[in-house]
Symmetry: C2
Subunit: 378 residues, 2 copies
């Protein structure tokens, strides 16, 4: 007894998702058809009621092309109504159940105008962040307060040196949460003050960006305290918080701080080339849709394994037109060194935020080292 169809009225507007499918032609074609059902009705194809559900709610293979040995590109469209207006449900339609099926990779997606209008994206973006920092066209400089285990006082002292040396964005290491040896409130108050005082001396507008990644009960409280203490931005790890949680805070009009997104725990989606998501979607498009003003990721040749090609696609996703959403800063990181700055600039151009952590501690006087870093981008 397949239930009868009620009056289902849909706009006919559909958005399109590009998947790469790995397998022989017949297998890949079957995977494409399967995605159409799995991501919508999740019902045996022969039992889906005829009419609107079958004709419009079920996904539709719009194109299917061989693009390499046992690799196919499937463009699949979905009715925009399957998403409603929610990021959680968008993620679900894009890749919910099929994340569990090997051989399917989410490579790109293009939303309808109506869907795009439901996402506000970054509050600041490239231009807004530049204005806030008072930095015209040069690349931005970023570093992290670490190592974990230092007291708030020691971290504040580092923050002061970084600010005196002209680092624009001084962020918590993402492992600093609210540990007993470095409680959130004490750390944030001291580091924000240290940076403010250094700014008084230098005349610059460096910002301190605390890590507010935290359990739901205290997340907003930490954000509010950070803002109150004079933080100039917020570090969030959407892999730990949920992507929508970052978006919610980006959309919160009580807040007026740029967001740096950290990639912790997101790696699961990109370690296999045949499954998961493309780097451009995960670290670019989705971050932008979810309100990040800058997205941290491991640049090739550091401690991680991203290829130059992948980094280039990711940077493109940060800058390319995406509805009305602002472009954002790619933040290549993960073991970068002063030595590599010219090469990295060559790679990303000027709209980039360079994040160097440990290496700044390797060259003697910290303030001088930061000044050297600064000269490399001026």
């Amino acid at each position: 007894m397949p239930p009868a169809l009620h009056e289902l009225s849909l706009s006919g507007s559909r958005f399109t998702v590009l998947y790469h499918l790995h397998g022989g032609r017949d297998t890949a074609r079957a995977m494409a058809e399967d995605i159409c059902f799995e991501q919508t009705v999740e019902f045996p194809p022969d039992l889906v009621p005829a009419g609107g559900v079958r004709d419009h709610v079920v996904g539709r293979v719009e194109r299917f092309d061989e693009i390499g040995p046992k690799t196919f590109a499937a463009h699949i469209s979905f009715a925009e109504e399957t998403v409603g207006s929610e990021l959680t449900q968008l993620l679900n339609v894009l890749f919910g159940n099929i994340s569990l099926k090997p051989g399917i990779r989410l490579v790109d997606f293009t939303l309808t105008e109506d869907l795009m209008a439901r996402f506000h994206g970054p509050r600041f973006g490239v231009r807004g962040l530049r204005e806030r920092l008072g930095v015209g066209e040069r690349p931005l400089l970023c570093t992290a307060l670490k190592p974990m285990g230092l007291s708030p006082e020691r971290l504040a002292s580092l923050a002061r040196d970084f600010a005196l040396g002209g680092i624009d964005v001084i962020k918590d290491d993402h492992g600093l949460a609210d540990q007993g040896f470095c409680p959130f409130d004490g750390r944030v108050a001291r580091c924000a003050e240290a940076v403010a005082r250094a700014n008084d001396e230098t005349g610059l507008r460096s910002i301190y960006v605390p890590n507010v990644t935290a359990p739901g009960e205290v997340l907003f409280q930490r954000i509010a305290r950070a803002q109150h203490a004079g933080a100039g931005g917020l570090l969030m790890a959407p892999g730990l918080l949920g992507l929508d949680t970052m978006r919610r805070n980006a959309d919160d009009n009580r807040l007026d701080l740029p967001i740096l997104s950290h990639p912790a725990l997101l790696g699961g989606f990109v370690t296999s080339a045949r499954s998961g998501m493309s780097h451009a979607v995960l670290f670019g498009k989705l971050q932008r849709l979810a309100g990040a003003d800058a997205t941290i990721f491991p640049h090739s040749g550091g401690r991680f394994s991203f290829t130059p090609e992948v980094c280039r696609s990711l940077a493109r996703a940060c800058h390319s037109p995406l509805g009305e959403l602002r472009p954002i800063f790619p933040v290549p990181a993960g073991g970068m060194t002063l030595e590599r700055v010219p090469e990295i600039l060559d790679f990303y151009g000027r709209d980039v935020m360079l994040l160097i952590g440990g290496d700044l501690h390797r060259h003697g006087d910290l303030v001088r080292t930061c000044e050297r870093f600064r000269k490399l981008v001026d």
Copy 2:
């Protein structure tokens, strides 16, 4: 100028994480050492200050064994203070940055007593859910309201039939959010009422479990409305919401409803055997730590690709001792059929919740089919 060490006082209590590392012996050994730094200080080893940070904050390789061709098991311990008391930071220490490094798989972890005491886990668990449903020792029956595209009225009519047929847990399909063709409020009110009326007729205690996976601004409101409307449980997809968001609601004393966890978007972590997390950690231990009372996953032989071995480890993680946390129900799903029920029962034993969706619609009268399903487990 590596910053000097402040007085760092740690308890000495450490928790242990098991990683499988893929590569030659020297490579794998180097990966193990790298994890110790990457997951804590994230600082070049030669620059980490001597004393407490180096001796206690940095992870420690406790065991390192070859377990197969180019496969090594590394037991690495971390000071419990690196986590503080937060699930977000626990996830970060377990697998934050290294999720981005191929060849590392998080296989298991054992927390200290103190850390375990910070997690309340499932509010109901196996026993609590059985009590609520009035079901002694038999396996529980579950189905999903679908396909997407049906109106609230049609779904309520299905819910009624399922309840009349004796299905214990009648959940929304996880693709039902708040779409225009099936708004949350209308659906939940109608389906909850339909199940309540059917219960009046049957004398059973079937529950309706709406999908409350939603953006942060409306999540709690939906949960509260579901509870008010008479829902008997909540369906949440922690992959879409964030694992901590599920935990937060499980810990919320204003709520008194069991939680079914749905695996949407979590697949990224398990599609590669050499990276990501073990199924037992992702769908078992972490779900339990985050308060799920039942965890849905694709059983082997259905539409997905989990092996029997993987399903067995996952079920074990649901039932095995884990501090004081209650055992929870494994919910094998993903294309299960009535035909397979005896075999699935044989596999999981009695403390299982059987989820059959589409196949229930394949055998004529829906109420009769549910009664058949019921007889298979009585």
